[in-house]
Symmetry: C2
Amino acid sequence: MGRKPRYTDDLFIDAALQIVSMEGPSGLTMAAVARRAKAPVGSVYHRFPSKDVLVAELWLRTVESFQEGFLKLLKQGNGSGAAMYTPRWVRQHFNEARLLLLHRRDELMTGDWPDKLTDRTYRLAGQLERCLEEFTQGCLGEATDDNLQRMLFALIDVPYAAVKRYLQAGQSPPAIVDELVCETYSAVIGEEK
Amino acid sequence: MGRKPRYTDDLFIDAALQIVSMEGPSGLTMAAVARRAKAPVGSVYHRFPSKDVLVAELWLRTVESFQEGFLKLLKQGNGSGAAMYTPRWVRQHFNEARLLLLHRRDELMTGDWPDKLTDRTYRLAGQLERCLEEFTQGCLGEATDDNLQRMLFALIDVPYAAVKRYLQAGQSPPAIVDELVCETYSAVIGEEK
DNA sequence: GTCAAAATAGAATCGGTATTCTAGTATACA
DNA sequence: TGTATACTAGAATACCGATTCTATTTTGAC
């Protein structure tokens, strides 16, 4: 019993994604989300108790999507593949990439994580840490602090750096990016088998 | 003729710097600047016509300070030194580094550059471009597009990425950062003489 | 058909922040 | 000592965006 829904959660989350990607965090207002979804603000608040929750869901959905593929490669022991996963993912998911790599979470949300969602964030962070540690051990022999730093640098920080410039300019990362990321991985971690 | 000033431009700019570094862009309000400088808001507006102008001055002052040392090394032909300039500068100028590397200009300013200041920004961008081009030519033989990308990556993007994680955590970048930046430079550009 | 539940609608609040306004103050110079 | 001037002061205003409130609409069950 009750009326059929006209809007869905994802409709609003998608609208928010478009807005952040195109106009940046300052353009992301509840009114703008409603407008883009062709809905009144009240309907947005019917789905999400606050802007922070809406944004947190968007952020989590995006990180989970990114991390899933990344960890898969890592578990296969494919280090240079994991390093190049970032530029590849960015080409496939341009708006999501702009959200994730051009802005910090706290730029988009005013408060802390909504309680309901802290579990999901812990799971993500835990997964990443475990996989990274295991891979480092398998790859460099021992997961010392220095080795972990090295791995973070080669697998995450450098690909991010390589890609950022192009995201900012609204362009797809060119092929040279993959080249640079790969060369750096080899230099810092070593050639693969 | 006229009353002696009690406050100075720099007093307010410094206050703004502290605030951004400690509380992030959302903490940077004109009231906060006034409070930290122990002045009333009216006095801030007596010095700066708007928040955007205040922020723009802060931003420019900081970029100029950073870029000066960077270009000096580049003109000396010291590539790996220039690459390691970033972590070093960050250790010396913690608050400035957090301003520059943790936030984008448009996070801090609502509008465009104030007209008065566009010249200074063009000069900065122009200087950097010229130096980079010249250095690339001297170093890699020819300033092709690919070579410039390579140089941007090794000299700017990678050092930035290597340092960011620590700035975010409020820590000084450890020694391993310099090591990684340097190894990457060698791998991507080549050993120096 | 009628009722209750689930949703839509969008106008009305409410709070926070940049900016403006109107007075008051101190200093140099006559 | 008087006065013009550059400055300090902080209260009042204006605006913008999140959130709330009060209908209104649609639908399934009886």
